[in-house]
Subunit: 369 residues, 2 copies
Amino acid sequence: MALRIDPWGHTTIKEYEKLFQYFGIKPFKELLPQIDKPHKYMTRGIIFGHRDFDKFWKLYKEGARVAVLTGFMPSGRFHLGHKMVVEQLVYYQRLGIDVYVAIADAEAYSVRKIPREETIRIGVEEYIANMIALGLDPDKTVFYFQTKQDPRYYRLIQMFSRKVTFNELEAIYGELEPAKIMAALTQVADVTYLTHRDLGGYEMLLIPVGADQDPHLRLARDIVDRYSRELGLKPPASTYHRFMTGLDGGKMSSSRPDSAIFLTDSIEEARRKVFRALTGGRATIEEQRKLGGIPEQCTVFELYAYHLIEDDRELEKIYNDCKSGRLLCGECKRRAAKLLEEFLRKHQKRLEKAREKAREIAEEVAPEF
Amino acid sequence: MALRIDPWGHTTIKEYEKLFQYFGIKPFKELLPQIDKPHKYMTRGIIFGHRDFDKFWKLYKEGARVAVLTGFMPSGRFHLGHKMVVEQLVYYQRLGIDVYVAIADAEAYSVRKIPREETIRIGVEEYIANMIALGLDPDKTVFYFQTKQDPRYYRLIQMFSRKVTFNELEAIYGELEPAKIMAALTQVADVTYLTHRDLGGYEMLLIPVGADQDPHLRLARDIVDRYSRELGLKPPASTYHRFMTGLDGGKMSSSRPDSAIFLTDSIEEARRKVFRALTGGRATIEEQRKLGGIPEQCTVFELYAYHLIEDDRELEKIYNDCKSGRLLCGECKRRAAKLLEEFLRKHQKRLEKAREKAREIAEEVAPEF
């Protein structure tokens, strides 16, 4: 059942119109009828756009070899924004699709200047561990570090450097440095190498990413095109999701701890963050009773929509109760805090075991230095 | 015994003075007394400069683990200029020093735009095969392609990108492109990775190169310095040799076949090239009898000095006979052609077997695409 409300219908169009209009990203909702059991991010308009998802889905339905790949930069603690991506991976994995996860340690080191041991530690203890605890099957998922790959993956990076210009890289990455160029070409390898006949031989890859990642995918598509005869790589399909707003109304970021809920936050910390979160509430209770709240601008409503409420009808009820002024922010936050607490308790319990598994995996896949 | 004549004493000082003065390259001849059996390029001033060769030699004498490494871009046919480098490798190998040869296929592909299969074919059939035929022991030499290496080698390349600036690369490579940046950092990995504790653990590498390669080595030394604490890489020692002049008086280059003698030239071709070669002869026989020739400006004398005459006294005789006007160009060329013919016949016979061995090696080390 598709959600009847469309909380971000308008803002989506406003913010992301350009992506549809100028860059050829297509609205995702048009594909909903083709998907038997869509993920809640699909019905809720959180995944709002795509490139070639229809082709990817058709191949999947026909039983062709397809895979989903995404990458994480091991640059900080794992938070709810990261969880969004993992949810999608788990969804596809449960449909029987192969899942690959790139730990972008080369990029974290060279562009973000995080010490090597730190990138490896964060990659294992924060990223791989949390992903497993979130339900990604460790035995069915291929985790890899960018700096510990098949030599042929690096061969692609070397080759890509030949047919890429400064101008197109500058358009995406702004002021260039050697490290950014290297990171860009490495990323192109990540989203394409599995379609090489010797390196996976997949018919198509799907890359679920945040809306800001499209330029990288456009670059990858362009480069693949230039090597079509030589390498036979295939352009990646992609889906684009909206970002959660930071709890303080800014960007959600590991570098501002109060903007995000980390999956290793203590229950107290998490509660405190929820109670301090920016809402769509009015200045006074009276006003809110009269005019209703603005869930479209509420970071607590986002917590529900992205993470805390599975049932679309229940989410719809919260939306309507807020809009009508029946549900006030205090009560709403208490409920969110309680649901979050339940989630975190369960997750953190699973995390202990997941860490052990992550360390086991690391023995195989983590770089030696 | 050191050669008493110094055919390029003056020109060396003139041409390479800057290298000594501004860039810290030191004259090689000062080290001659330390070397028991110097190579003829050392006694003849063909190897004219070095960085840290004294340190390298001391380590070697003390029995420390040291190695010699050089790289070849598989971009054309193997000629006498390439042979110069191989002679040096053979010399060090016979002293018991480990020898590594990088086939710079990534660079040939991305900077010179040579098709991949071609870079691999040339690397095996031209370079590895000729090197073996020239006496490099295939069982004691490590040949590798830049695109088929240990992942940790690529990790170094990724890491290097972080602490290198556009400016310093531009100073060496001129106008930059992504491909040149990649090639530069790959080259830095080539001349340093074997000193990493996990990747060879050598105390020091010696890189014998042509004089024009010093900027790359300076870059490598600078980069190693920036990573000294993190990676413990060691700066390469290097020696610098003069280039043979092209037989037509220009630069010796695969792209102008008449400038070079290729080791697969037919005897007729080779003879023809010798007879057409630019000499230091005078306009008329009378003049030459009177004034003597100018061996310092003679490409045929270079053939003797670099390749055809092992005995320093014999070379000295040719030099003196030319200078005095006793030896005329016709006779001198006939002798050179004959010696060259002998060399090529022997070499080309060895080459057949060496090709087979090269193909065997290729099964292990050549990239798959």
